[in-house]
Amino acid sequence: MTKEGSAISLLPHLVAVWLLAVGLYGIVTSRNLVHMVTCLAVTQSSTYVLLLTIGYRAGGTAPIFLDVPVGTRAVDPVVKALALTDVVVGATVSALLLALAVQVHKRHGTLDPEELRALRG
């Protein structure tokens, strides 16, 4: 890897770490379940960034091999598939959690996780 290559690839890694840290901080301090689910999505977006960074090739095109000469430089298609699967998983989990949050609001009249204190000890 060239020098400028490493400088470019460091930034997205830092972004991924930052998103992870910010998302986790949000979950830990959250006072609203919808906010918490969103923070979980932010945490998950760090995995998207990480995956795409790892598959990135400097100067590569999208991995669609139609009408391009053989040997064209392209980014790694495998991580695209992984990221896509990850998005699907994320959508499922977010939908389920939001449904639970709606139920909590219906039964409890609140969305504040601190007020859910039925399970202790």
Partner: protein, 613 residues
């Protein structure tokens, strides 16, 4: 005829889809037998697979995309003895849980059955997969199904809270796993476990490998509920319907440990092998902490499901101790213990489910003495408690004896004491609860021990149809407990089982043979390895000691001791305060659970960086 490995995964998925599609037209009378038949058929398929994988691992490439010159182009299922054995266990537990469900719920939609079958399919895929990313996908699929099942009784606010904690914590664990996979892919250019192992082995350990390992370990430890990643577990168990608890306790924790074993021995054993001593220390520390904290919290519980939840935590610690030795002898013991312990936990949860169905509550204090005359359930709970303590000849005894033996030969003789203390205390809690509920032994009803506000008994009764006091529990609810305990007994008595486990563990921990089988298609017959002979005069005393301790601890009513003298009083108050603080830590808050997860991951990262350099 050879069976194709994906079949056991496809069958329950297909039936689940049909059940959902036909949902509006299908009566429950139809859904129950269909689900049970599917689970039973899947169990038979996994058992067949198990028989086929007995000699050498079965490798199946989807679409026939076999590796070319050792380079992977496809996705594989790699089935060995261990994976197939766990898959069979999962099928068996699912069948029992569905039979139990039949009369447990008064009203339940076909969605419940569909979710159960999806869960089963994901578990089987997880056990059989040889591809790291597919492992992750099945891991997420089984998790999402489990979240929905845990929060199935959405009319109960507690249920929602437990499910939320379960879902958020495990999702974060899942992200950790995925990040670890991404890093490994960046290094090795592959998602196949065997190929990753070969690629990593070419270079010495560096920061990237350590970070990836820590991320994967954290994710799997969240699932297995190793301290301090365990906070979600008791909340999820306390609120999940009993049939779901059977699967959570019997399968999910087990899978977390299995994933650790599988990924370590296929991908990391080569590169981390030279540093095994340091790694062993860290893992043994985590195991000891988990076993002791779980046992203590278990003893402090009065809510039967939470009690069993912490017993699960404690026994996860014990199994991890066997794995942490990082050699085949300990692994063989851990493998047997994993299977036997899963069966025992499931049987105990069946008993708790019966109690809940009969009395509408599972709080030990509200139930005090109300179970008199329920001899069968009482007997099952008692036997389950004793099996938990490792009473010979239950399968738990054999697994524990093998692990203790391996630990003492590896120079960690203290592990035997860990086993005695942790299993005696957790079994004592179960026996105490059983004696209190079914004979009225111990502290009389109404006297609530001091502690933080307990989950209200009233809330735990919601959902399941409550039978009037005095009616007998239906046979389909109590019979699974007996069958599961018989299976545990069979595990302990089957001749040659120790040798079987030893062979399985040897081939599981041979990462070169695994890579050769997957990448080069070289399947050699696994050499039969004789298990180290167990000398009864050496292995029996700890087992007897454990059982005696458990019975004593259970029979002595937990009462405030005579506190004459100031110093004693102060000491007693200190103990009370410490336990109170410990219970306060388990606040049931999602935020706290995640905070502990971060602390645990950071701790694990720091320790492993220190020992792996």
């Amino acid at each position: 005829m050879t069976l194709i490995p994906p079949l056991p995964v496809a069958v329950p998925l297909l039936v689940a889809a049909l059940l959902v599609g036909a949902g509006p037209f299908v009566r429950r009378r139809v859904a129950d037998p269909v689900a049970i038949a599917t689970a039973a058929a899947t169990t038979v398929l996994t058992a067949l697979l198990f028989a086929q994988a007995a000699d050498h691992p079965l490798v199946y490439w989807f679409g026939g995309w076999t590796p070319r010159d050792g380079v992977v182009v496809g996705i594989d299922f790699a089935v060995d003895r261990t994976g197939a054995a766990l898959a069979t266990l999962a099928g068996f537990l699912m069948t029992s849980a569905l039979i139990f469900t039949w009369r447990y719920f008064e009203a339940v939609g076909t969605l419940f059955h569909a979710l159960m079958l999806v869960f089963l399919a994901a578990v089987l895929g997880f056990c059989l997969s040889g591809d790291l990313f597919n492992l992750f996908v099945f891991f997420e699929l089984l998790s999402v199904a489990a979240y929905a099942l845990a929060g199935y009784r959405s009319e109960d606010p507690r249920s929602l809270q437990g499910a939320l904690n379960f879902a958020v914590t495990n999702s974060v664990g899942g992200f950790m796993v995925l990040s670890g996979i991404a890093l490994l892919y960046g290094r090795s250019g592959s998602l196949n476990l065997a190929e990753i192992g070969r690629a990593l082995e070419r270079e010495p350990v560096d920061g990237l490998v350590v970070v990836a390992f820590v991320l994967l370990l954290t994710g799997f430890f969240v699932k297995a509920a190793v301290v301090p990643f365990h906070f979600w577990l008791a909340d999820a168990y306390a609120v999940a319907p009993a049939p779901v608890c059977i699967l959570l306790a019997g399968v999910v924790s087990e899978l977390g440990l299995y994933a650790t074993v599988r990924v370590y021995w296929t991908a990391f054993a080569g590169v981390l092998g030279p540093h095994a001593a340091g790694l062993r220390g860290v893992l043994l520390g985590a195991a000891a902490l988990t076993a002791l904290l779980g046992a203590l919290m278990c003893y402090l519980q009065q809510h039967l499901a939470r009690l069993l939840a912490f017993a699960t935590v404690s026994h996860v610690g014990l199994t991890l101790a066997g794995i942490a030795l990082l050699q085949p002898d300990g692994l063989a013991g851990a493998l047997l213990y994993l299977l036997a312990d899963g069966l025992v936990k499931a049987a105990l949860f069946v008993c708790v489910g019966v109690v809940q169905h009969q009395f509408g509550t599972i709080d030990e204090r509200d139930l005090h003495g109300r179970g008199r005359g329920r001899t069968f359930t009482f007997g099952m709970l008692l036997l389950g408690g004793l099996a938990l303590a490792g009473l010979p000849p239950f399968g738990t005894f054999l697994g524990k004896a093998l692990m203790e033996d391996a630990a003492s030969r590896a120079g960690h003789a203290w592990v035997a004491w860990l086993f005695v203390v942790a299993s005696a205390v957790s079994a004592a809690a179960v026996l105490r609860a059983g004696l209190g509920v079914f004979t009225g032994w111990g502290v009389p009803a109404g006297s609530r021990a001091d502690g933080p506000d307990q989950p209200e008994a009233e809330a735990s009764r919601s959902g399941s149809g409550r039978a009037p006091d005095g009616s007998r529990p239906p046979a389909t609810m109590v019979a699974p407990a007996a069958v599961l305990l018989l299976a545990t007994l069979a595990l302990g008595l089957a001749p040659g089982l120790a040798g079987w486990a030893q062979t399985a563990a040897t081939s599981l921990s041979d990462h070169r043979a695994y890579a050769a089988a997957v990448l080069d298609g070289v399947t050699s017959k696994a050499p039969a390895v004789a298990a180290p002979a167990l000398h009864l005069p050496e292995t029996l005393p700890p087992a007897v000691l454990t059982v005696v301790l458990a019975v004593l601890l259970a029979a002595v009513p937990a009462r405030r001791p005579h506190t004459r003298g100031r110093r004693r009083k102060v000491a007693w108050r200190g103990v009370l305060r410490a336990t109170l603080a410990l219970r306060r830590l388990h606040s049931g808050q999602v935020g706290d659970s995640i905070a502990w997860l971060v602390v645990g991951a950071a701790g694990l990262g720091g320790l492993l960086t220190a020992v792996l350099r």
